[in-house]
């Protein structure tokens, strides 16, 4: 995924050097480094203080997924650092821009934090190590080849002399960067690849961790906002006469189709906002509802025109000529990210400068957004990254909260203003997981072999709405086919089917879509893996054996599937009343599979008891964190599959809070057993991939338990009592 804000194109100038190679840039003394340590850096990635504290610069952002610790492990590994002395800091996008993007891409989405920067951050650590050792060699006047290093201490064995990194860092900083930087064989890793504790955990257990929503500044005011809840609607009238007189209110700001109240505290701002009477002109979508959206998508299922994602042979003829034709229609609704910490940002604007403190998954996009909203050039703006109370793609898709905070702050030049969305605002103005339907058609021969498959997706393209430049010239959205591609390292289809057609009839309702953990892989895996299961049953074959026959040419896909089948005991009797289902998929560079165990009571109550999950992510930088991501991704994916849907009525989102958009809680969390099986030679993501297989494995287990095929999500809308 490349979820880059539309406005970020201006950053693309000169990125070739960053993407293609490694540049060591040196700190210009007295520079703009507001957020960075004052100690001179060894290079852009590494600062070592005289007391041997190692500060590793992190370009990507931590939002719970563990990227910060993983990246620090990779740099530390090559640096030969003492892990107990490692801390981190975030450069700002302004600093990155001023230094010709020496830190590369800041975007933290698409499970790319580690896999797409592992090479250059490791080179940063290795180069710093070489410079530190050279500085020691220079000081001792010995050849650098005679030195060894371990845990941040350089040793000259012949003379038994030792120097810690902190003693030579200042001299190292003045050296030229090495041209040839070799990286370690992952087999020799001692820091990377190990299940180390995460950094920055203590503050998350004692209330001391400062998230974006907690940021304060002297003289800061607080803002609450209500943006027009109707898609395409406009404000007709605003009566703020009562709100203006309420305690603490400083200013009422109306812009675009939003009304914001600025007050001394956020609670007073929110209370006053509720007293503002706003009338809307609903516009052309005023009567839009989920039924109408579903009808639009349904028409796409048989539309003659569609974008092709993957095809070989002649699927139509093969299916028509098949002994048995199987057809099924599925649907997956809109979902909201619903991060625990609602959207927020603190902005200070003056005619000369604009600064923002916020939780964002893409600080460079936030900077571009800030520049536009502030009416100031990029180099007069900056973004200070705060800890995120969850991201899941929401804070990558749109920086709308940054634009709003600045627009409000512009009304109060020089005064810091913190804008916080209420949960209700967050629910109404999400960037929702796109809505789709899918018609699956398959043909079986007399022996139950799959001879043809047509997968017709109908529904929303994320890029068409939020990032149209990401579409191909003919209008096709390649992201729609995540995990369904004919090949490639990102998301390859795991079956060989003699006649195959996967296509997409694009239908774009006026509801803003976004990149939601797993993105299009989620529904693609639900559709494909449910239907493969249906075909297996229609063919009278075991779902595992049916898949294996189609997966002979896809050994990595097959390996994870086999691993979960074996660990879960597929083919052996399950405990009484327990039923199993399988699923596999590949996305964001990783191969994943799951076997779910469920029970369904006579009353139709579903319990997801256990999920065995496997991932081959190439290299596993921190297995303990990967284990956490797998369990967490299941909580996110199962919540959606079991109970969540965002629906539309009267041109707006119906759900307002967690009472109507329930989140999976402890009581519904299954036992999760993980198999982390990195096969080496490639880098796959871990934050998202396992989410793909959570829902389809459960859906297939429900069928095994009840004989009922749930084809429309969420599952709660289907009566699971045995027919």
């Amino acid at each position: 995924m490349n979820a880059i804000d539309f406005s970020r194109r201006q950053f693309l100038v000169g990125t070739g050097t960053v993407a293609g190679g490694f540049t060591l840039a040196f700190n210009i003394m007295g520079n703009e480094a507001l957020a960075l340590s004052a100690t001179p850096e060894v290079n852009a990635w590494v600062v070592i203080k005289p007391d041997d504290t190692v500060i590793i610069r992190i370009a990507r952002v931590e939002m719970g997924q563990g990227t910060l610790t993983g990246l620090a492990q990779l740099v530390s590994e090559e640096l030969e650092a003492d892990w107990s002395k490692v801390t981190t800091e975030y450069p700002t996008p302004g600093e990155n821009l001023a230094r010709k993007r020496v830190w590369g891409n800041f975007q933290t989405a698409g499970s790319q934090g580690i896999r797409q920067s592992a090479d250059y951050v490791r080179k940063g650590g290795a180069a710093a190590r070489m410079m530190l050792m050279q500085a020691a060699a220079n000081q001792w006047k010995v050849p650098v080849e005679e030195l060894t290093v371990s845990k941040g201490v350089i040793t000259h064995e012949k003379t038994k002399r030792k120097l810690s990194y902190g003693k030579v860092a200042a001299a190292a900083a003045k050296l030229e960067a090495p041209k040839d930087v070799a990286l370690k064989d992952p087999k020799s890793w001692t820091i990377a690849g190990k299940p180390l504790h995460r950094l920055n955990q203590v503050g998350k257990t004692n209330g001391k961790q400062i998230y974006s929503i907690d940021h304060t500044m002297p003289g800061m005011l607080n803002a609450a906002i209500r943006d027009c809840p109707i898609f395409g609607g406009k404000i007709k009238s605003v009566d703020s006469s009562k709100a203006e007189k309420m305690p603490g209110v400083k200013k009422i700001v109306r812009f675009d189709q939003a009304v914001a109240v600025v007050a001394d505290t956020w609670w007073r701002a929110k209370t006053a906002l509720e007293a503002v009477k706003i009338e809307y002109d609903g516009g052309e979508h005023a009567n839009l509802d989920s039924k109408a959206i579903a009808a639009t998508l349904r028409a796409g299922l048989d539309a003659p025109e569609a974008f092709v994602g993957n095809s070989n042979g002649d699927a139509h003829s093969a299916i028509v000529g098949a002994v048995k034709k199987v057809e099924a229609v599925y649907s997956v609704p809109y979902q909201n990210h619903a991060t625990m910490e609602p959207m927020n940002a603190t902005a200070v604007w003056t005619p000369e400068k604009c600064e923002v403190w916020t939780a964002t998954q893409n600080a460079e996009a936030a900077l571009a957004t800030a520049s536009k909203a502030a009416g100031l050039p990029l180099d007069k703006c900056d973004i200070y990254r705060m800890d995120l109370g969850g991201g899941f793609g929401r804070r990558a898709t749109s920086q709308d909260f940054v634009a709003q905070a600045i627009t409000i702050a512009k009304e109060l030049p020089g005064t810091p203003v913190k804008l916080i969305w209420s949960r209700e605002e967050d629910m109404a103005h999400g960037c929702y997981h796109p809505i789709t339907q899918c018609k699956m058609t398959g043909g079986l021969d007399a022996d139950g072999n799959l001879v043809g498959l047509h997968m017709r997706i109908s529904g929303q393209s994320i890029q068409a709405t939020i990032r149209p430049e990401g579409l191909e010239p003919n209008g096709r959205d390649p992201f729609t086919f995540q995990g369904l591609n004919a090949g490639g390292a990102e998301g390859a289809f795991g079956y060989t089917i003699p006649n195959l057609l996967i296509d997409h009839a694009m239908r774009n309702p006026p509801v803003r879509p976004g990149f939601w953990r797993g993105v299009n892989n989620n529904q693609n895996a639900i559709y494909l893996e449910s239907f493969i299961d249906e075909l297996a049953h229609e063919a009278g074959k075991d779902p595992l054996e049916f898949r294996r026959a189609l997966m002979k040419n896809h050994p990595k896909h097959l390996a994870v599937l086999n691993a979960v089948a074996e660990k879960a005991g597929w083919g052996t009797p399950a405990p009484a009343g327990v039923y199993r289902g399988l699923a596999q998929h590949m996305g964001y560079g990783s191969y994943v599979a799951a076997c779910a165990e469920v029970s369904v009571s006579d009353k139709g109550e579903l319990k997801v008891l256990r999920i065995v999950a496997a991932t081959d992510c190439g290299h596993a930088v921190n297995p303990h964190q990967i284990d956490g991501q797998i369990a967490g991704s299941f909580a996110y994916g199962l919540g959606a599959a079991l109970m969540q849907e965002i629906t539309v009525k009267d041109g707006r989102i119906e759900q307002e809070n967690f009472d109507t958009y329930p989140i999976l809680r402890m009581e519904d969390m299954p036992k999760v057993e993980t198999i982390i099986m990195p096969s080496g030679g490639f880098w796959g993501g871990v934050g998202e991939p396992t989410i793909f297989v959570a829902a389809p494995a459960v859906l297939n287990a429900i069928y095994a338990a009840t004989g009922k095929r749930v084809r429309n999500l969420p599952i709660k809308n289907t009566d699971l009592r045995k027919a």
Partner: protein, 152 residues
């Protein structure tokens, strides 16, 4: 003026009586470990103790609390139980984003006070706070580890 005893200290606050305790704690006292998640007592991120009982502070107006009642936020949780839970949280790397964990630890403390040796089923029943990162299984393991450490 409304007076509140928070973490052992009495604060005089100039707030409207219907101000939720959560926002008084965050904006008036400046203790930000107690989080806003939903405002309707659904998620539990705002959990605090009042006289030893865990309460969702987003839905509790300050006027409903008297000066004599002892409010304790995550920053003021110094009991052996909370310390054991915090240690288990770090041992097992429970937090991901961490935003909900103040509330989870408040809820877990309340659980171990009433059920010192909870079963899996009891943990599932009693722990109703939302974690969007899905750290539930490690929360459960953390509670059991802390319970075990407290018995030792």
């Amino acid at each position: 003026m409304i007076k509140l005893n928070i973490n052992g200290k009495v604060h005089s606050l100039n707030v409207e009586p219907d101000t939720p305790l959560l926002w008084a704690i965050r904006e008036q006292i400046g203790l930000t470990g107690t989080k806003y998640g939903c405002g309707v007592a659904q998620c539990g991120a705002c959990s605090v103790e009042i006289d030893g009982q865990v309460v969702r502070s987003c839905s509790m107006p300050v006027s409903a609390v008297t000066e004599k009642q002892k409010i304790v936020t995550i920053e003021g949780m110094t009991s052996k139980i909370t310390a054991a839970l915090q240690k288990a949280w770090l041992d097992l790397d429970v937090p991901q984003c961490g935003y909900c964990q103040s509330g989870q630890l408040m809820a877990a403390t309340a659980l171990l006070k009433t059920i010192p040796n909870p079963t899996d089923a009891e943990i599932k029943r009693e722990m109703s706070n939302i974690c969007r990162c899905g750290t539930y299984n490690r929360i459960s393991a953390g509670i059991k580890q802390a319970a075990s450490a407290l018995r030792a």
